[in-house]
């Protein structure tokens, strides 16, 4: 695949959405926001 094809928004969205490395920090961020809400 050439970079122009693989850098298309659709491909990037799919690559990020199926990457476990994205969901780990995102889950931790959501957890942090929930904790912050409890602490208020």
């Amino acid at each position: 695949m050439s970079p122009s094809t693989t850098n298309s928004p659709r491909h990037l969205f799919r690559a990020i959405a199926t990457d476990i490395h994205f969901w780990i920090p995102l889950s931790v961020l959501v957890g942090g926001l929930l904790l912050l809400d409890k602490l208020r």
Binding site: M1, S2, P3, T5, T6, N7, H11, L12, A15, I16, D19, H21, F22, I24, P25, L26, V28, L29, G31, G32, L33, L35, L36, K38, L39, R40
Partner: protein, 420 residues
């Protein structure tokens, strides 16, 4: 990559880790000048605004923003990672404020310093760090991190403000939450640098997530009108907070280069030496332990020694060629997933130029530099130095030491990688 080049990049990354510790710790000094009655959320917001100014102007000054455009063209997905990391930083920083308020610094600091242990775990699990490293290096990194954790605990106990703890469980959760957020925040960092992104480009987008999250939190928690009144009322102090943010960015920049060249398992513990520098500023410049008992001084000496030994153990455990080839496997995996050119990824890992771009500054760069300088100068004119007993001799000595580290590490970065 040749063995000589690998060794010089590893040495550079370790040097950057120590410089990061000095500048991240030094960032605490201007904040100590601020009235403690100011809301912690407001303090954090103004600091982040200073960080934002620095993160857009410093890269423009060092290399020009044309390099940022090149990085985005090659790896646009990294904008998402950088913004995500920025959001995490802002939430973690706010959690630390609640942690200190509820359980005091002595318990909170060591708890969120566990971020280095989590960083080692993520580095090993997700990015092949410490693979084929041998037991000596494992012992050096893990033993060093545990040693630093012990030292951090002693230092935090010695420098605690002895505030009466209330809502202890919530405070402990807040501190642990901050540690987990900061430890996990290094996943996006490592992801970006394995794919070849320049740290100067990464921090430019990181700060967008940081400022956006902090602004939303500040408005939601304080309310827009009370927040504005508080900012106007504290206008003589805003400069010191922004200066703290500016100094912090320089430390973070070194931390980013450390992460890039020695990985998160070594980079995070080394930059955690910031606690030592913060303590030096507190004791020598702001007389924080004046009149303390001998046992407190013994704790400080013991904690500092433990932290220094831990940092030394990690510094002496740099990656071998076999371990580095595992990093390259992880980088190749990233490149294939996101369709990044192999040569761009390799050039990034080796700290060399990918393609000859223009090194001259554009009008946009000069506008960014002038805008940031103008805001700081305007706030500097309004600033007033609070009446605090400051040991100016020590303040000058520590500033000179920090500048010496900045200059020597900056020159090393320029000569070895051209700030890549």
């Amino acid at each position: 990559m040749s063995a000589t080049r690998l060794r010089s990049l590893q040495a550079l990354g370790i040097f950057c880790g120590f410089a990061a510790g000095a500048w991240l710790g030094g960032a605490e000094a201007p904040i100590k000048l601020v009235n403690p009655e100011l809301s912690p959320i407001t303090i954090s917001l103004v600091m982040v605004f200073g960080v934002f100014l620095a993160r857009w102007s410093v890269p423009a000054l060092i290399r020009g923003t044309s390099h940022v455009r090149l990085d985005v063209r090659q790896a646009p997905h990294l904008i998402v990672w950088a913004v995500l990391a920025g959001c995490m930083w802002a939430v973690a920083n706010t959690l630390t404020i609640y942690a200190i308020r509820n359980v005091g610094l002595s318990i909170a600091f060591p708890l969120w310093n566990t971020n280095s242990l989590l960083g080692i775990f993520w580095g090993f699990l997700l990015f092949n760090e410490l693979h084929h490293a041998g037991w000596k290096r494992w012992l050096g990194v893990l033993g060093g991190a545990v040693c630093m954790f012990g030292g951090a605990t002693l230092l935090a106990i010695a420098s605690a403000d002895q505030a009466a703890p209330g809502k202890a469980a919530l405070g402990i959760f807040a501190a642990l939450g901050a540690g987990i957020l900061w430890g996990t925040m290094y996943i996006p960092y490592r992801k970006a640098y394995l794919t070849g992104m320049n740290p100067l480009s990464f921090i430019t987008f990181f700060t967008v997530g940081e400022l956006a999250t902090m602004s939303v939190l500040a408005v939601a928690y304080r309310g827009a009108t009370p927040l504005w009144h508080e900012l106007v009322g504290a206008r003589t102090l805003l400069f010191w907070l922004m200066l703290g943010g500016f100094v912090w960015v320089l430390g973070d920049l070194f931390q980013q280069y450390a992460t890039k060249y020695v990985g998160i398992s070594r980079g995070i513990p080394l930059s955690n030496t910031n606690q030592l520098w913060g303590l030096l500023w507190g004791i020598l410049v702001f007389h924080e332990l004046r009149g303390a008992s001998q046992s407190v001084y013994a704790q400080v000496a013991g904690g500092s020694l433990l932290m220094a030994l831990g940092a030394l153990a990690i510094a002496l455990s740099s990656a071998t060629e076999r371990e580095h080839s595992s990093w390259q496997d992880a980088a190749q995996r990233e490149g294939q997933r996101y369709g990044v050119e192999g040569e761009y990824v390799r050039a990034g890992m080796e700290g060399r130029a990918y393609e000859a771009g223009s090194t001259s500054r554009t009008a946009v760069d000069w506008l960014l530099i002038a805008g940031a300088s103008g805001v700081l100068a305007a706030l500097g004119v309004m600033a007033r130095l609070p009446r605090i007993d400051i040991a100016w001799g020590w303040a000058v000595a520590l500033t000179v030491a920090m500048i010496a580290l900045l200059a020597s590490c900056g020159i090393a970065l320029w000569r070895t990688t051209g700030f890549r």
